[in-house]
């Protein structure tokens, strides 16, 4: 069975300073559909950088990136945008909701992105389904200012899920939330693996990391996998 994601020897070098710094140093990683991964590591170890390569925000300087067997290591931006739309969902530490839009409009934003077009009614149905999935369908008409942090983050998760991505990337999604709310958010995230979506979670929280199927350590750009014993 081909891996959903196959990274081999991914290297990312930060240029533009006196001397180039290697942020990712020969990272190799296979991810299969429905898997959940936790990536942990010290601040500045390169976790967000790895996610930005995985999510096609950025391209690696060396190494190959296969997505369902297709080499996308040197993908032009136009096609990368299309793939981000069709294959990836993103959740960040800050929720990044647009404050002038309602929860439903914020979720719909991922559908109104110039990649294909859904008629209004279908769009609304998809949005409501995504909001329902994270348990906040009743807040559809609220603006971010009138929602709690946990609710806002779940709107952001709904936004990431509305196109039914193959891979969900989450960068410290509970960083701004209290423990209880954080657990709720992790629940919402983890539920996607049931339908074959891979979840890659960057977190500082040991407990949240422990709930993932695989645990990976990033240290100064070097990725190592800890075998989970259970």
């Amino acid at each position: 069975m081909t891996a959903l994601i196959q990274l081999t020897g991914i290297t990312k070098v930060l240029k533009g300073q006196e001397q180039p710094r290697t942020i990712l140093d020969g990272v190799s990683l296979d991810v299969h559909p429905g898997e959940s991964l936790a990536i942990v590591g010290r601040s500045g170890s390169g976790k967000s950088t790895l996610l930005s390569v995985l999510g096609l925000f950025d391209r690696p300087d060396q190494g190959t990136y296969l997505l369902s067997g297709t080499d996308i290591s040197r993908l032009p931006e136009r096609r990368a945008a299309k793939l981000r739309s069709s294959h990836f969902g993103f959740v960040f530490q800050r929720f990044f909701l647009l404050k002038h839009l309602t929860a439903a409009q914020n979720v719909a934003m991922a559908l109104v992105n110039g990649q294909g077009w859904l008629p209004r009614r279908q769009r609304r149905a998809r949005v409501m389904q995504a909001l329902d999935e994270v348990g906040i369908a009743h807040l559809a008409k609220n603006r971010p200012a009138r929602m709690s942090g946990g609710e806002q983050q779940r709107v952001a998760i709904a936004r990431a899920l509305v196109r039914e991505p193959r891979i969900l990337l989450a960068d410290e999604p509970t960083g701004a939330l209290d423990t209880e709310t954080g657990t709720l958010v992790i629940d919402a995230l983890q539920s996607v693996t049931a339908r074959g979506c891979a979840l890659i979670l960057v977190t500082h929280d040991r407990d949240h990391a422990a709930r993932m199927g695989r645990l990976l350590h990033l240290d100064a750009g070097v990725l190592t996998e800890q075998l989970v014993t259970s």
Partner: protein, 431 residues
């Protein structure tokens, strides 16, 4: 096709959401641009109006563009009859001849000797002169008549309706009617400068014309604006001919003789040939005021456009400033939109479209205000400035406004659009 329309629809929604969430900003950039576009429209319209005003005055003196003007000088006594018989009854040529006439009390000197303007704007005319075939000399003191209730005018005798070539503006009463039987009492139409005189001085109506067989009683039937400062009166040549012998009527020695013709009329050829047979070489030219003025007008327009351009530039700077600030504020939004797969070209297009729409809306507003302003001007000042009457808003000013709005939109939106497209997606991870 479907993909394109999907992109367009997305762009529309995103753009409208952007404008709606930043109404004040949009309004601000519109205000800064409004003045610039207004300046361009006003300058363009002003130049058109100025051109029109300039030409309107030139048309009164020179005749409408395309009019063929023949000036005739010479001593042959045949001249008058030849000119009048050639143009008689023709609709494509009018002969006009000027002579001195004094209207008023008999036996006195006119208050404006020499036919000078009655407002004294030409200064002191000097001692009274007398002229005959041998030349002009000062009148001996004994012969100087006392000044009295009389006004001297240049009397212009016409063989037909000259307004086809010189659009004299009616002020009051009527213009000469050339279709009726010539009256024995010559009917006169005064110009404004002469009418002023007859308002100031209540003169008994008697008209003395040099060479006339007798003094005649003129009928004033109307007043026109011929653009001339000098008092003038217009009369049908055939009515005057009852009193003035033909040889004196058109006497190039004593008067100016001019034939105005429609371009291409056979009169030009025929009359020239007849005059040459008399040994007179006519001077013929075609009125082309517009072209003569073009260079001068173009320069004027350029200077004002440069000034308007400067104002517009300030407007562009305003829209650019607001646009950059807006993009700065929207960095996270754009990074996020890129993260969810919105192509950067679409984002750049949306930013550009937002400023373009702002620019065009502003242009429409500025043009609307100018059109209304022009309407107000025409209604308020149209009475005293006849060339404004029936004046339409010059379409090239509208076009200039739209172009200015477009240019401002492109200039003001281009840099922010590029900025927007260049925002790295990773911004959302490091904020």
């Amino acid at each position: 096709m479907m993909r394109l329309s999907g992109r367009a629809r997305s762009a529309l929604i995103i753009g409208l959401q952007g404008i709606r969430s930043r109404k004040t900003r949009t309004l601000l950039s519109m205000v800064s641009l409004f003045l610039g576009v207004l300046a361009v429209v006003v300058v363009q319209a002003g130049a058109s109006i100025a051109e029109r005003a300039l030409l309107a005055d030139m048309e009164l003196f020179e005749g409408l563009d395309g009019t063929v003007v023949m000036d005739i000088g010479g001593t042959s006594p045949q001249l008058g009859p030849v000119v009048t018989t050639t143009v008689a009854g023709r609709s494509d040529a009018v002969a006009m001849t000027g002579m001195q006439a004094i209207i008023g009390e008999p036996g006195v000197r006119p208050v404006n000797e020499g036919g000078v303007p009655l407002d004294g704007s030409w200064g002191d005319p000097g001692p009274p002169m007398t002229c005959d075939e041998t030349g002009c000399r000062e009148l001996p003191a004994a012969e100087i008549q006392p000044k009295g209730q009389a006004i001297e005018v240049r009397l212009t005798a016409l063989t037909g309706d000259v307004r086809k070539y010189r659009p004299y503006r009616p002020q009051s009463g009527e213009w000469l009617d050339f279709s009726t039987m010539p009256s024995l009492a010559p009917r006169l139409v005064l110009n404004k400068a002469a009418a002023v005189g007859f308002e100031q001085y209540q003169v008994p109506a008697e008209m003395r014309v040099t060479g006339a067989s007798a003094n005649m009683t003129p009928h004033f039937i109307g007043v026109v604006d011929d653009g001339d400062q000098q008092p003038r009166a217009y009369v049908r040549l055939d009515e005057l001919s009852h009193w003035v012998p033909a040889a004196r009527l058109i006497d190039p020695n004593m008067s100016e003789v001019r034939v105005l013709m429609t371009a291409g009329t056979p009169v030009e050829q025929v009359l020239s040939a007849k005059l040459r047979a008399l040994g007179v070489e006519p001077m013929v030219r075609t009125v082309n005021s517009r072209e003569d003025q073009e260079e001068q007008l173009a320069l004027m327009r350029l200077v004002f456009l440069a000034m308007a351009g400067l104002v517009l530039l300030i407007g562009v700077a305003g829209i650019l400033n607001v646009g950059l600030a807006t993009v700065g504020e929207r960095v996270e939004e754009f990074a996020l939109r890129r993260a969810v797969g919105t192509p950067r070209t679409l984002l750049a297009g949306i930013v550009l479209a937002e400023t373009l729409i702002t620019g065009l809306l502003t242009a429409a507003l500025a043009i609307g205000v100018s059109v209304l302003g022009m309407k107000a001007l025409v209604t308020l000042a149209g009475g005293s400035q006849p060339f404004l009457q029936g004046m339409e808003f010059p379409w090239d000013a509208g076009v200039a406004g739209v172009i200015a709005g477009l240019i401002a939109g492109v200039l003001g939106g281009f840099v922010p659009a590029i900025r927007a497209a260049g925002i790295p997606i990773a911004t959302v991870m490091r904020a």
